[in-house]
């Protein structure tokens, strides 16, 4: 018997995981060279969702390029819109009014909550904890309802505008959002954390897996919870505040070990911090206009004004028919903290009213690039955990 075993030959096996695979969170293809169960080489292939957003934006006006940004990270479209608006506002030198800033901050944090619970839930589902997934969609539904109440859309919202937001929020929305933020931390602790944070299987699948040191993580250009899990407290909301983030108090949770578990823990803590920010915003919310007066050159007037007011009607007509409006020449890089990490817009304006070049620095693109470093040398089952932990959306990665 022993003699027979000696003659068994082993060879490396190459398998292609994806592009249609439930655990790759979209159309990501990962080619894995395996030696038994351990990964020797991991090569991600992206680009299946490439739609040429950067090229399309070059041929649109600043106003009409906004809906393109919805389709990047499609489960947190509101944050992308805000990022784009912040960038264009800085380019044009527009300052949105206070109320609009607070509304945007609330919307941005709601999106963060929805994105993080979906991210953690699908991550847990891939590893085998299914109940969390069902809870998360229940809570996400509340957020979707809040969006629908404000702007009529649930997924691709296009709600923020250059210089403010499209329409004001109602008192009903304010009450509901406060109630939601008030209840969320308890739900997180009672339902989410009790389910998996005391689960031995969860610990074994996440602790010490996919470790990346703080220095490496910065060198790779990682951002968001993926970076903070390694202990680097870099958060654009603190380092270069935009909207109302400099007026609210919140902590930036960081991990220590830089493994899958710490990154998961960071996201869970961030949910609680987001709820804290929303509550403060509701308490501090000022009254006043929701659109900067000098933004009127670039943004369509509200629909009810168009129907009632001659001046607004003319403005809408001119904006639609006359084409782009001259903008200052220059270039700007503006970063915002979206749920996945740092979303940067680098816009070059040549004064024509259309972006000469709009570059998108998508966090998911950078995060996929680190996948080989996390996976090589690990087991094939850990590849699933690693894809879940970097929290990618391929629409944003491929643009």
């Amino acid at each position: 018997m022993a003699a027979e075993t000696k003659e068994l030959k082993t060879k490396e096996l190459t398998i292609s995981m994806g592009p249609q695979h439930p655990a790759t969170h979209g159309v990501l293809r990962v080619v894995l060279d395996l030696d038994g169960e351990s990964v020797v080489k991991c090569t991600p292939y992206v680009g299946y969702l490439h739609r040429g957003v950067e090229k399309l934006a070059e041929n649109r006006t600043y106003l009409s390029a906004l809906p393109l940004t919805d389709r990047l990270d499609y489960i947190s479209s509101m944050s992308n819109n805000i990022g784009y608006c912040v960038a264009v506002e800085r380019l044009l030198g527009i300052e949105p009014p206070e109320r609009a800033k607070y509304i945007r901050t609330i919307m941005g944090e709601l999106t963060r909550i929805s994105s993080h619970i979906i991210g953690v839930a699908t991550h847990a589902l891939d590893i085998g904890a299914m109940t969390l997934f069902l809870y998360s969609f229940r809570d996400r539904e509340d957020i979707m309802d809040l969006f629908e109440m404000t702007c009529g859309a649930r997924l691709t919202v296009s709600y923020p505008r250059i210089g403010g937001v499209r329409n004001d929020v109602s008192q009903e929305f304010i009450d509901k959002v406060y109630k939601f933020a008030d209840e969320l931390p308890k739900k997180i602790v009672d339902e989410y954390e009790t389910l998996i944070d005391q689960n031995r299987i969860w610990f074994q699948r996440t602790k010490g897996i996919g470790v990346i040191s703080a220095e490496d993580a910065v060198n790779w250009g990682l951002t968001g919870p993926t970076l903070r899990g390694s202990g680097v407290p870099y958060d654009v909301r603190k380092y270069a505040p935009y909207d109302a983030y400099d007026k609210v108090e919140f902590d930036v949770p960081v991990g220590k070990a830089g493994d899958v578990y710490d990154r998961y823990k960071c996201r869970m803590e961030e949910l609680k911090q987001s709820a804290r920010i929303i509550k403060q915003c509701v308490e501090q919310m000022p009254t006043g206009p929701i659109m900067a007066p000098d933004a009127s050159k670039f943004t369509l007037p509200p629909k009810d004004m168009v129907l009632k007011d001659m001046e607004s009607l003319i403005r809408q007509f001119v904006l639609i028919t006359k084409g782009p409006i001259a903008s200052p020449e220059g270039e700007i890089y503006a970063a915002t903290e979206v749920p996945k990490g740092e979303l940067g817009f680098y816009i070059i304006s040549d004064g024509s009213g259309r972006p000469y070049r709009m570059r998108l620095r998508a966090p998911s693109f950078v995060h996929v690039s680190v996948l080989p470093t996390l996976c090589e040398g690990a087991l094939i089952a850990d590849v699933i955990a690693n894809i879940g932990t970097i929290d990618i959306v391929l629409g944003e990665c491929d643009r």
Partner: protein
């Protein structure tokens, strides 16, 4: 350090390389020649007072008909320790469309450089994995160049594999159930 000081520091150290400094809304961009770009970036990464450890972004820009040289590779660098940022722009002419790779300074530059090659056709010398990234490997042309059409019937220039699929569909039409 203030971005203005950083820009001046670079100019002081590399007077022959720096072609100009521009400011717009508080952000400074330093335009440099491409020959010693790696040395300049290495200096920015390793000097303790500057310590640009975070590669925020790397991308290409095409200035067809607007400017000579035609291309620019733009580096956005950030220092998490010092909380400052600078933009370095390296000019790349069309007839020598290549620049040194900076992957050994920042590992994160790897995919950005691949993307820049894919969409602009700028080659990065010394890149460990120089392939297309977003488009198929047998794609013809570089879409973010200004002379690449946004929308048109490419005819014969269509992607080879797309043409094959169309041919196959035509051939298989005879088996359609009526």
């Amino acid at each position: 350090m203030e971005p203005k000081e950083i820009a001046e520091l670079i100019q002081e150290r590399y007077p022959e390389e720096v072609k100009g400094i521009k400011e717009f809304r508080g952000q400074f961009s330093v335009t440099v020649k491409k020959d010693r770009i790696k040395e300049i970036l290495q200096y920015l990464h390793e000097t303790p007072d500057l310590y640009f450890d975070h590669p925020q972004d790397l991308c290409g820009v095409d200035y067809l008909g607007k400017k000579e040289p035609r291309f620019e590779v733009v580096y956005h660098l950030y220092s998490i320790r010092h909380k400052h940022m600078i933009r370095i722009k390296a000019e790349v002419p069309e007839d020598d469309c290549s620049i040194d790779s900076v992957t050994d300074i920042w590992a994160g530059a790897n995919w950005h450089e691949r993307e820049c090659f894919d969409l602009f056709g700028i080659t990065f010398k010394g890149h460990p994995d120089h392939r297309r990234i977003l488009l198929p490997e047998d794609w013809d042309g570089h879409p973010l160049r200004k002379d690449y059409p946004l929308k048109s019937d490419l005819g014969d220039r269509d992607w080879k594999q797309y043409k094959e699929v169309v041919e196959l569909a035509k051939k298989n039409k005879q088996y359609e159930v009526k």
